[in-house]
Symmetry: C2
Subunit: 211 residues, 2 copies
DNA sequence: GAAAGAAGTGAACCATCATTCAGACCTTCC
DNA sequence: GGAAGGTCTGAATGATGGTTCACTTCTTTC
């Protein structure tokens, strides 16, 4: 027994792992899941392909982690906005707007999270996260109905519709699959009109009176 | 010059091609794109793997043809309903209902068309067809607005939202990816409530007054 | 029936990656 | 310093699955 990982060593390894995840996320945002080979990701992180397996037992595991981190942030942000200040309808509108704005500000990643072809493990994760978005939306809708702000409705269905509507509206502006994404994708300001129209459609979908 | 395809021969080849497409469609509906290997498809059609290349120059070409045929039928049906009898709001409601009912009656195929992981060529085709759905919806929405039945709105955005909403609501009931679909999938009656709720959400989304 | 030319076959081929592994190189601890 | 046990490397390995091709079988035409 002449070796025990020292705290410094542990945090070094941890940092390496984090760095790998970060680089993988970037690669995925740039070129999509399909093109994000282990070699490419390792390369981006400046390590050998084999070293990836020091941190993850398979490519799928890494991919899932990348997805979870990124999607998790969005769920968190959306959750905070939806549970924030204001009446349910205001919150719903703000939630949709924030979600869409964030997606448009980071198109490559958003496309990867929402729609880009991916291996089955990531697909399953995507489904799971869509369920979470739906649950968040459903809660606000229920509150709106309870408060009499929204007409009676099946909140789950409305929530699913909202999730799908937001995703669909975003996917087209987000760029098409297969095509190499322009690398500096985080540039253009989100088109104000698109956001406004999307929010309006979302509010109508929940039955909020048209302004 | 001692051979020219006779009409009978030509139609035999044509029938073989059609049969191949039909069998491939079935395989895809059953097991999804990912599992629909050339070998599996050829097997289902009762021909050798190599013979597939008598009809299609690549697997992707066959896959695209399968997608186009199936998705084309849906576009056609939706188009007819949306352009049919009645005022715009009635037609929109009926269109959504018919679309959803058809999807639920043929879940495997619907899932493959709407959401199942697929090769890039099919993904591109999917995008194209979503654009067509959107165009169809947009037209009715515009008519509704023009007729004063619907509030002023960005019809394209609403249409995209409708497309996404319908897709999203359907995808969950349609069964999860990766899982082997039960083969006799065209059985259960479409849940009436789901359809009604979906139609209601869609109409709200376009701004039709809640009943 | 025989020549010419397809269509059909399926085993071999090949490209693509994820994954492994033997060896090189580091860290820890005595 | 050196033994023990890591981490890192990158070429070799292996699985998968689309595609090819030498060969067989069927059709047409004379």
């Amino acid at each position: 027994m002449a070796y025990r990982k020292t705290p410094a060593e542990i945090s070094r390894l941890d940092a390496a792992r984090e760095r790998l995840i970060a680089c993988a996320t970037e690669v995925v945002a740039d070129v999509g899941w399909a093109q994000a080979s282990v070699a490419a990701v390792a390369d981006a992180a400046g390590i050998a392909a084999g070293s990836v397996y020091q941190h993850f037992s398979s490519k799928a595991e890494l991919a899932v982690e990348v997805f979870r981190r990124a999607a998790g942030r969005e769920v968190e942000v959306l959750g905070e906005v939806l549970a924030g200040e204001g009446d349910p309808v205001e919150r719903l509108g703000r939630g949709v707007e924030v979600f869409a704005r964030r997606a448009l500000e980071n198109r490559g990643l958003a496309y990867a999270l929402l729609a880009a072809p991916a291996e089955p493990a990531v697909g399953a994760e995507r489904l799971e996260f869509r369920r979470r978005y739906r649950a968040l939306f459903a809660e606000v809708v229920r509150e709106g109905v309870a408060a009499g702000q929204l007409p009676p409705q099946n909140a789950e269905i409305t929530a699913a519709a909202l999730t799908g509507a937001v995703g669909e509206v975003l996917v087209d502006p987000l760029g098409h699959p297969g095509e190499a994404a322009p690398q500096a994708a985080a540039s253009q300001a989100p088109p104000q009109a698109l956001l406004a129209d999307l929010v309006a459609a979302a509010l109508r979908c929940a039955g909020a009176p048209t302004d």
